[in-house]
Symmetry: C2
Subunit: 403 residues, 2 copies
């Protein structure tokens, strides 16, 4: 992969948010001998270097009733060195869709010898493991893990941790282009190679999203939600730095990866707020604005943003979710203890003007889960041992001992 | 890349046409030590092995007025080890579009240090080189190379030859997904790795082609032309083997690669007939059916067909070309000296029934250029020396001495 170095960054305490990085080649080829002279502004990352990172990476694929053909295509796109963790929340009744997923993935793994771990979000054993690990926050009244992609992502993160991986990345299961999935995972590796493997967060900004407009395709750059979400996050940043900024381009980025260590230290919002809340949590914890839990300002948290080259074409879920996404994203900024009153007023006004908040309604806070640092990893690992060992697609993986 | 071995093949003299091969992983990772135990039916091809082939490969990109953004995306997708040859036939007046292409590609190469050779099909120097090389067949009355993608592809092939490459592959300049381009070029390498680098021809069958149907996307598998073209080619094959077959899936495959040695020995049809004529020429020359120019039946020509995993989404050129494509494809089969009378009748009947041939019209033969074996490579190389050296994007390439 050949990729430009970031041109700028915004700093807030220990948090650095880097400007969007452009990709010049999906595949820069192998290591050269002697090494290629690096350009001042563009770095060439060899296949070997990328594989080295991917060998320590788990890719979590949250699944909920996506077509099996689509899920298989996503697996085809994930580079072989990565461990794949499929967290399914597909219904088991009246048709046991999860059984079909398991069958199809097992068959696929027979051909690829891919390392794939498949779990179901509603498995009682998973719920019991969260209880045993002292982190019952994810469970609902029925005693099982709550529905929701955010909850699935948290479960995937914990599994990546007990499998001994250093990095965890996320890709959606409804992507029509395996080549786009392949690109995202390369970019995750590129981000860690360029920004270090300590407290780095890599977020992908889609090149474009093809939309059908009057019987032809229009490649839209910004969605209705990300436009608003990015603006509000940038306003919040600008409030503290004193400079207006457009640095944040990935407020809603579902495609992202981070070090497992960082992931285990973060708090998570639910629903559509999960991605923008990453920014809020990191700024609240490491931004150095108010007295924080994390005093160590020498450990930089680097948020790196990469613009993918493939358009993003996924299964069409209709428009109903966009309103929820807008409200969820903005609520998470509105309810941050760092959000100034003027920005709260602006968000509230915008939501009312555009009909997302009705007369008399108030913007509800989103549920936030405490940091996974509270979770006893050893206890969780012990509790899921049988499940993890039994459900692996390829036989060569075993649960790594906790690092 | 992880890819199945072909399950079957059809044999006609020295020509072997292999069944469609399915891809299981776009990226199978690096060479393992000790090497991975290969499955009986699926082969894992390491990144190192693929790069080794790509280092000897030229990728020809025929260009005609495609948007610069699209062309750049295609270059982003071509793996770095490949030499890129852009053969443009974009208009130079009233706007000099070729100048804009050259400027944009030069700028791109500044960031990537990619080896790109850009030529214009109508360059008088190119025409003079064909004359000097004793192959004036490509020129029209004005003394320049004729318009047409086939002519551009032949020019690209000759340039690949004088640049000393062993393989030549083709990708279209109007592909929206750099990741799909990347996949095609990996599959070219995979084909040569699996079938040898002697007389191998790799053809890609698109996974699907998204079409807009009533405001949503439908992933069609077979185009209107390829359906007819493949059927007629299979009928021709079946006529000689005595067994009905569906082996040919890539009659119209624009995405294909072959050894330069094979490419230099072939005859080429023009227009939309160029791709199906590959089959006709190889069967006529190597099929062992009638007395042929090539007597050596011990040199197998292997046609390998790979099913890509990415859908093919390219710029919409409207439907007008489909009729030409159908007529051109079928004409090339109809006019083969091998085509039996019953198949000629069937093709003629089909074209009349469906309105492609009007009352009183006859199916015109397509122009066929003689084999490039006639071309004096040294003379061509000498004539284009200055042009090639002067127009290269990266400074590190020089014309290789003729092998």
């Amino acid at each position: 992969m050949r990729i430009e170095i970031p041109r700028e960054f915004e700093r807030l305490g220990a948090v650095r948010i880097y400007g969007l990085q452009k990709v010049y080649e999906l595949d820069a080829g192998p290591e050269l001998n002697p090494p290629a002279r690096d350009d001042a502004v563009v770095r060439s990352l060899s296949a070997e270097a990328i594989y080295e990172v991917q060998r320590e990476m788990a890719i979590v694929v949250p699944v909920r009733s996506e077509r099996l053909k689509l899920i298989e295509g996503v697996l085809v796109g994930i580079p072989h060195p990565c461990l794949v963790i499929v967290v399914s929340n597909s219904p088991r009744e009246p048709t046991d869709r999860h059984f079909l997923e398991l069958d199809s993935i097992t068959n696929f793994c027979r051909f690829t010898r891919k390392q794939v771990l498949v779990v179901h979000q509603k498995d009682p054993l998973i719920a019991a493991a969260f209880v045993a690990a002292g982190y019952a926050d994810l469970l609902d009244e029925s005693g099982l893990v709550r529905d929701g992609k955010a909850e699935g992502m948290m479960l995937g993160t914990v599994l990546a941790r007990i499998m001994g991986r250093r990095y965890v990345g996320f890709v959606d299961a409804d992507n029509y282009f395996p080549g786009a999935v392949n690109e995202y995972v390369r970019e995750y590796a590129a981000g860690f190679l360029m920004h270090g493997n300590d407290h780095t967060f890599v977020r992908i900004s889609w090149h474009s999203k093809p939309k059908i407009v009057e019987q032809s395709l229009y490649f839209a750059k910004w969605g209705r939600s990300s436009r608003r979400c990015n603006r509000a996050l940038n306003q919040l940043l600008g409030h503290f730095t004193g400079y207006e900024t457009e640095i944040v381009k990935t407020g809603n980025a579902g495609e992202h990866a981070l070090t497992v260590e960082l992931a285990m230290s973060m708090r998570y919002a639910t629903g559509y707020a999960v991605e923008p809340y990453h920014f809020i949590d990191l700024i609240e914890q490491y931004g150095g604005i108010t007295a924080t839990e994390h005093g160590d300002m020498r450990r930089f948290v680097r948020i790196c943003q990469i613009e993918s080259r493939n358009p993003h074409l996924h299964a069409d879920k209709g428009d109903a979710h966009v309103a929820d996404m807008i409200v969820g994203s903005l609520a998470t900024i509105y309810h941050s203890r760092l959000c100034p009153v003027w920005l709260q007023r602006e968000i509230d006004g915008e939501l009312r003007k555009d009909g997302f908040l009705k007369e008399g309604d108030t913007l509800k806070p989103v549920r936030v889960y405490p940091s996974l640092a509270r979770l006893n990893v050893d206890a969780f690992a012990a509790a899921v041992q049988s499940l993890v060992a039994g459900r692996i697609g390829a036989p060569i993986v075993s649960i790594a001992t906790v690092r």
